[in-house]
């Protein structure tokens, strides 16, 4: 019996994959394996085993230190072989997204990254992903025997723990140290913000002329009880942290209300707001694409409209 193998360097993401892997495995008659690497492998193995994984392959091989993508890919290929896994689910974090294709190449597998849903259709696992830069969603069926899916974190929930525990197996791996050496690592600047869960969002873009002017956006966000988010265009200036980016390479939000200010509405941004219940936009350019997605549109200068809006909101 073939197995599904799940892996992520992030424990929560691995548990989400285990939840989906269990469901798919039950429907397809496949077992569920997981891999956990590095110094915290034993802890992760316990959690995975308690969430429905039949066998957790662990390794604390020193070559895995730093999680070099070449070594992790090789380790997973060896685990997949040991477990008899033909389908691998990896979380599409930045690490996972560069790992999945390298692993797929080793396994001769087809691969879909940034998967937003996995659905069993006529006995095949169909993966959805954004295409044409976010204009559309493509449903993909891999025709290779081995398949690798890199699934966006938070696509699935985490199942409740189950009674009984999966087996923990020491993986017999033969690994070389990574060709790339980690020299240093430092946390990113900026405060962590959870846009996925925000109910109201004010999204700011390059319509703001100066960094200091973002205060106007912050005031508006405060008056609305909203989180401040931004376009990648603005984040690339270094004015706001990357964790505030909404869109293809940022958060896919689903707030009740999204207000886009000085945002042109390029598809790579709007893909992250299209699930908002209500969208309003403020832009000087009446032809800006953002208006095609707006329930309410204001053609106007943010430097005039924002102070007026804040005043009206505060008067409520």
């Amino acid at each position: 019996m073939a197995d599904i193998l799940v892996y992520s360097e992030k424990q929560d993401a691995a548990l989400e994959l285990a939840f989906k892997g269990k469901e798919l495995g039950a429907a397809l008659g496949m077992g569920l394996s997981a891999a956990a690497f590095g110094p915290s492998a034993a802890d992760s193995a316990g959690a995975l085993g308690a969430h429905g994984v039949d066998r957790v392959f662990v390794s604390e091989d020193p070559a895995l230190e730093g999680l070099g993508v070449d070594v992790v890919a090789e380790a997973l290929a060896q685990v997949a072989c040991e477990a008899g896994a033909t389908m691998v689910l990896i979380a599409s974090t930045r690490r996972g997204k560069e790992l999945a294709p390298r692993l797929a190449q080793k396994l001769g597998a087809g691969c879909v990254t940034d998967v937003s849903s996995l659905v069993l259709t006529d006995g095949s696992v169909v993966a959805s992903r954004y295409a044409f830069g976010g204009n559309t969603v493509a449903r993909e069926n891999l025709t290779t025997e081995s398949k690798v899916f890199a699934v966006m974190p938070k696509t699935f929930e985490i199942a409740a723990p189950v009674a009984g525990a999966g087996a923990v197996v020491q993986a017999a791996l033969s690994l070389q140290p990574s060709a790339a050496k980690v020299v240093s690592r430092r946390p990113k600047d900026g405060d962590a913000v959870n846009l996925d869960a925000a109910e109201r969002i004010v999204g700011v873009g390059r319509g703001f002329a100066k960094r200091d002017d973002l205060g106007l956006g912050e005031e508006l966000a405060a008056a609305l009880g909203a989180e401040l988010a931004c376009t990648k265009g603005l984040s690339d200036f270094g004015w706001l942290g990357e964790d505030r980016i909404v869109g293809l390479s940022g958060a896919k939000t689903k707030p009740d209300f999204y207000l886009a200010v000085g945002v042109s509405g390029q598809i790579q941004h709007t893909v992250g707001i299209s699930s908002a219940k209500l969208i309003a936009a403020i832009n000087t350019d009446k032809d800006a694409p953002i208006f095609q997605l707006a329930d309410y549109g204001i053609v106007g200068n943010l430097y005039e409209v924002l102070p007026a809006l804040v005043e009206k909101l505060k008067a409520l």
Partner: protein, 260 residues
């Protein structure tokens, strides 16, 4: 140092209109991949910093017509040479097929110290091609580069991960993918656009690489490709700023967003 940059041509995504959830793709102009231009810029800066280096751009497409403007643009930016892999069999390939073609082309080029990619293409954004090529060539890969320093036998890369900035060191040859914050791609001058046409350009078919069309057949079957449904009100609020602001606040009251 020989730096190869892998560059893709895609449709101008901003021009795609949706009709009955279907993307309308007729008469949409082509555009050079956004991050690929960042990769070219990074290569040019490295070349000028290291000296005695050249930048070769490499592209894979089903027709010469599709990539012509892209090649002209990146040569005008300052790349030294171009290699085009053009073959009708590439019409229906996937990222694995593109990677196999690129790896074969790199082997034919023979000498490469750094191979640069975008972190993702503008249209597919799959991020698969770079890592697959790295595996095929058996060389180290470092993704999401935001700063690259090369010298001697190695490369030092600062890269942007989800929660931290990491600096890695790797021996050459190596595959790197870049993120947009690495640089602002230069806009070619008129003079350089004129000169671009004279730069050495090679065009190879799959057969020239010893590849069979079956080697690039897609293993990814697209069952459907539709826009998500959007039903928006499209109400424009008229008047001066004060009036517009009042209009929006009233709308938000009515929608139950504020004043609850």
């Amino acid at each position: 140092m020989d730096i190869v940059v892998s560059v893709k041509t895609n449709l101008d995504l901003q021009m795609i209109r949706i009709k009955n959830r279907e993307p309308v793709l007729e008469a949409i102009p082509y555009k050079t991949g956004d991050l690929d231009k960042n990769a070219v810029e990074a290569a040019l800066q490295l070349r000028d910093a290291v000296g005695e280096s050249k930048v070769i751009v490499l592209t894979v497409a089903e027709s010469n017509r599709k990539v012509r403007e892209t090649i002209k643009e990146v040569l005008a930016m300052g790349a030294d040479e171009a290699v085009l892999i053009v073959d009708p069999a590439l019409e229906s390939t996937d990222q694995a097929g593109v990677a196999r073609t690129l790896a074969a082309a790199l082997q034919k080029i023979g000498s490469y110290d750094l191979v640069l990619f975008g972190e993702g293409s503008s249209d597919d954004y799959s991020g698969q091609v770079g890592p697959r090529v790295a595996e095929l060539l058996g060389v180290p890969q470092i993704g999401y580069a935001r700063q690259i320093t090369a010298g001697g036998a190695g490369v030092l890369v600062e890269r942007s991960m989800d929660e931290y900035i990491e600096t890695l060191e790797a021996p050459l040859p190596a595959v790197l993918t870049v993120v947009s914050e690495i640089n602002e791609p230069r806009i070619p001058s008129l003079m350089n656009i004129m000169k671009a046409g004279k730069k050495p350009t090679e065009e190879w078919s799959l057969a020239d690489l010893g590849l069979d069309p079956a080697a690039v057949a897609s293993s990814c079957e697209t069952l459907s490709n539709l826009a998500e449904e959007q039903d928006r009100k499209h109400i424009m609020l008229e008047g001066g700023a004060a009036e517009q602001a009042a209009g929006l606040v009233n709308a938000l009251l009515k929608e139950g967003i504020v004043g609850r």
